[in-house]
Point group: C2
DNA sequence: TTGACCCTTATTGTATACGTTCTGAATACG
DNA sequence: CGTATTCAGAACGTATACAATAAGGGTCAA
C-alpha cells in the first residue's frame, strides 16, 4: 500500500543488489548486508555528509520494515558515520573541525605504533594481498573512479592494521578510516585524493623487508601529508554574520 | 549458570530511578539512563561475565517494552560489554585470553601516548577533580567495597584520557576501561584489586608538575603491573579434554 | 503586504502482536 | 534400562499499529 515515495536520488547510481523485489525474509544476516551497503555508500561519497536518511525510505529501498533499518542506523551512529538527532532522524555525519583533527591525531598515534608489530607478523600471503589492493587502487585512480579509490584506500589501511594481530586496535583503525573518508568529503580538495598510491607501495615494501621502524616513520609522513592536503578551516559554521558578509550599514 | 536469576536483585542497592512504578513515559533520554544502569552493573561486577540478559526480564525491571531494551543491548554489544548470540539472546561478555591481551596492549599504547598531551592541558580544576576521585577510590578500598573501587578506577582512567583533549581517543579509552573491568572479573585474583591507589596519586602529581614523559613511563608500569596481576591462562575453554582430567585408560 | 497563529502532514518513538527457533522433558521403542 | 524422537514452552526476530512531536503551509488580521 505504500506507494514508494521519493527517495533521495542518492542511490541512483548503480546499487541494485538490495532491491530484491520478492524477499520472503531478509534474514538475520541480511541486516549486516544492509549495514555494509549503507556504510559503503557513505564511504564512497554516494551519500554525502548532511544527507538525510529517512527510515521509511530506507525500509522501502531494502524491502524490510523500519525495525531493521533502525537497528542499522543505530550501529552506524555508534560508529559516528551517521548522526541521530532526537526528533529529526538520521543524517550522514558532517565531521567538525575538531573531530577531523582528533581522528587524524588518533590515526597517527595508533597506525604508526602498529607498524612494528605488522612488520614482525606479516606473511608473504599478506604482502601479495596488499600489493593486489594497491594495484586496484592505482587502477581506480587512473580510471578517475575516485569513489572506488577512496574506499580501497580506507580498506587498505584497515587491512594493514589487522595484520598487526590486535583485533581491538584493528577494529578501531577501521572505524577511524571510515570517518576519514567522511572528513575527506567535507574538507578535501576535489581532484587531489588523499593517499598517493605510491605511498602505499612503499609501505608494503618496508613491511615486507621487516623494517618496522621505517614503516612507522613513513606512515607518519603519509598521514601527515593527507592531513595537510585537507582544507580544515573554520567554515562558515554557526551565525554566518551577515553584517560582515553583506557590509550593511543599517 | 545459577546466576541467571541474579539480575533481578542487581538493582537492589540504591539504583531506584528506573523502577518508577507509574511511568507515563520513559522518555528518549530514559533509554540512556537504562544503558548507564546496566553498564554500571556490569562494570561493578553485579552482573558477572556469562550472565544471561533476557529481554523480557529487563523490560519488566525497567518498566519499558522490549523495543527499548533491544536498543540498549545492541549498544552494549557494540561496546563489547555484552555478547549477542543470534538466537540465544544477550549475555555479559566473557573476554577471551586473546581479547584480554589485546585490550591491555591497546591501553598501554593509547593511554601512555595521551599523557604528554594531558600534562600540557591539565588545569588546576582537573587536578582537584582527579584527587577527589583518587580519594574516593581509596575510601572504597578501605571499606572493602571492591565493586565501587573498580568502577571508580575505570572512571579515573577514562577521565584522564578526556583531559588530553582528544574526544575520539578518550571515548576509545573509556570503552577499553569498561572492558578491562570485565577482564578483571574473569582473570583477576580476588582480594588483589588491579589498581594500587597510590599509583593514581603519583600519576596525578606527575601530570600536575607537567612531567608528561615521566607520567607516560609511570602509566606504562602501572598498566603492566595490573596486567601482571591477572591470571591469564588458557582456561578450560573449549573441549575440556575429559580424558586428561579424569585419567581414564579406556 | 507582512506578521503571527493554527492546522495539516510527515516522520520519528514506542509498544504490541505474531512467527520462528531453540531448549528441555516426557514418552515410546529397542 | 538406555536412547532417540517428538511435543510443548519460552525467548528472540520481525513487522505493524498507534501516539507524539516538530515542521511547513495557509489563512486571517493589522
Amino acid at each position: 500500500m505504500s506507494g514508494s515515495r521519493q527517495m533521495a536520488e542518492s542511490t541512483s547510481s548503480g546499487q541494485q543488489q538490495a532491491a530484491t523485489p520478492g524477499p520472503k525474509k531478509a534474514g538475520g544476516k541480511g541486516l549486516d548486508a544492509i549495514y555494509r551497503s549503507i556504510s559503503e555508500a557513505i564511504i564512497e561519497h554516494r551519500l554525502k555528509p548532511g544527507a538525510r536518511l529517512r527510515e521509511d525510505a530506507l525500509a522501502d529501498v531494502f524491502g524490510i520494515s523500519r525495525t531493521g533499518i533502525r537497528k542499522v542506523l543505530q550501529r552506524l551512529a555508534l560508529e559516528q558515520l551517521v548522526t541521530l538527532t532526537p526528533r529529526r532522524g538520521a543524517s550522514v555525519t558532517r565531521p567538525s573541525v575538531d573531530e577531523a583533527k582528533d581522528v587524524f591525531e588518533a590515526r597517527q598515534m595508533v597506525e604508526c605504533a602498529l607498524m612494528e608489530a605488522a612488520a614482525k607478523r606479516i606473511t608473504t600471503a599478506d604482502v601479495e594481498e596488499l600489493r593486489e589492493m594497491a594495484r586496484e587502487e592505482r587502477k581506480a585512480l587512473r580510471s578517475r573512479e575516485q569513489r572506488v579509490a577512496i574506499k580501497l584506500s580506507a580498506t587498505f589501511h584497515a587491512r594493514l592494521a589487522e595484520i598487526s594481530g590486535n583485533r581491538t586496535l584493528a577494529e578501531f583503525v577501521g572505524q577511524l578510516c571510515s570517518r576519514s573518508s567522511l572528513i575527506l568529503a567535507v574538507y578535501g580538495n576535489p581532484g587531489h585524493l588523499g593517499c598517493e598510491s605510491h605511498d602505499h607501495d612503499n609501505l608494503i615494501e618496508l613491511l615486507a623487508a621487516g623494517e618496522g621502524g621505517k614503516a612507522s616513520d613513513f606512515m607518519e609522513r603519509h598521514l601527515k601529508s593527507i592531513e595537510a592536503s585537507l582544507s580544515i578551516f573554520d567554515e562558515p559554521e554557526e551565525t554566518p554574520d551577515l553584517r560582515d558578509i553583506f557590509a550593511f550599514d543599517a
